[in-house]
Amino acid sequence: MATDTQRHQGTAGVKIGLAEMLKGGVIMDVTTPEQAQIAEQAGAVAVMALERVPADIRAAGGVARMADPGIVKAINAAVEIPVMAKARIGHFVEAQVLQALEVDYIDESEVLTPADEQYHIDKWDFNVPFVCGARNLGEALRRIAEGAAMIRTKGEPGTGNVVEAVRHLRTVLGEIRRVTAAPSEELGTLAKEFGAPLELVRRVKEMGRLPVVHFVAGGIATPADAALMMQLGADGIFVGSGIFKSQNPAAMARAIVRATLHYNDPAIIAEVSESLGQAMPGLEMSTLAQSDRMQERGW
């Protein structure tokens, strides 16, 4: 046997690399091993292991925390696709626990109740990669500066209403266009305006996009919603409550996967949308009190 080749783990290349493999795919919230298998069979590229989906977190109120490790382990054992799990914003010990459980990605998420109102987790400290939410380019680049290897625009979780997801994606893409159009001498001022590191603003100008994979989340409830986000320019889709709060989760899951692939083909989107039963019940944004808006968490 040859001597052991040196293996470099937890590198930026490896962390960002897994997100690259998820592109064009759908990541689904699940709360049981059975749901995880339904998601896998429907073609999900990863699952998010949770104790409750966002709609139920919203309904239950109180403090929402990391899932029970037992649930995470059971879901880890049930599927071959990557398993993600959520830690509270700033709660680096929940993140340490999730890393010890060998989840494949940690979502430092506004869906849970923040543990720290000043600081996010120092994500460079971990071997496991992180995805974080953002509503605009500055927020996205601050998370990347802290070590996030993937960004998802936030939307408004648990509402089944896509309007905030659209707003946040359009905001980020619009601000990227401002950066790419700006001459180099204006980048410092833009960085100040966005509250983002100049180095990352330069990267955005070079690449013409975020320096990491860019998914969308928060309110996607139908195949047409998913295709809308893809046509607007998302790299892929998180569906939270939209699958398992719908009338027929297996069919809805498969339909959203197909619509995400064929996002430019209205005939296929029509075909997959037919006879799916009820989508999840939706919430109008104006009925949400400011304090109930999860997107305001994080900064």
Partner: protein, 204 residues
């Protein structure tokens, strides 16, 4: 010369960029008719169950399988290697083979979960003295291979880059580095396959 990149899901953009840097036109392949006019195909990294399922639904799996049996060159990275393999193992038992053209048995995620994902440098004699930086992401492991399979690169004695006829497969992702040598190697294979086909059709 046109080499398509399977664009169901995964790191399509990175493979296309590598091919374009070699001056090769690299259209996206999402449906059976997109295979027409291609000299070869790259299947990217991604989730093999998702990609296989969607290829099967559109008829692309059957169309590509037929071409592979007729000698069509295909390079599969990671998920692409799983799709090419004759035998696929999972943590909870075997999976049905997808395209079944490459005489290897692979185990999904057998290099470990994401926290064990890694980069390393390995020698590949075919590509010259400079080692190749290999990026393994929840990578499949080649457990065994038939006599027709040639091992081009190994990590600690285990095959990670293999070829058989016009097929090439790697457990790792050369598209995530700046090294173009493996893509160039595949492009040369595609060119040779085209020349061989031209000679055959010209007849005696």
């Amino acid at each position: 010369m046109r080499i398509g990149v399977l664009a169901i899901q995964g790191d399509v953009r990175e493979h296309r960029r590598h091919l374009e840097r070699l001056g090769i036109d690299a259209p996206e392949v999402r449906a059976p008719q997109h295979l027409d006019g291609l000299a070869g195909l790259i299947m990217p990294g991604g989730e093999s169950s998702t990609i296989g399922m969607l290829m099967s639904e559109s008829g692309l799996l059957d169309a590509l399988g037929q071409r592979i049996r007729a000698g069509f060159p295909v390079y599969g990275t990671c998920a692409g290697m799983i799709l090419l393999a004759n035998r696929v193992e999972g943590a909870r038992g075997p999976f049905p083979a997808w395209l079944a053209g490459l005489d290897i048995t692979v185990a999904r995620n057998a290099y470990g979960r994401q926290v064990q994902s890694f980069e390393a440098d390995i020698p590949v004699a075919e590509l010259g003295p400079e080692p190749v930086r290999v990026v393994f992401i929840r990578a499949p492991k080649v457990l065994s291979h038939g006599p027709g399979v040639r091992v081009l690169g190994s990590l600690d004695g285990e095959p990670v880059l293999v070829e058989q006829g016009a097929l090439l497969a790697s457990s790792f992702h050369p598209e995530l580095t700046d090294d173009l040598r493996i893509h160039r190697y595949f492009a040369d294979k595609v060119r040779q396959s085209q020349e061989a086909a031209a000679v055959a059709s010209a007849g005696p």
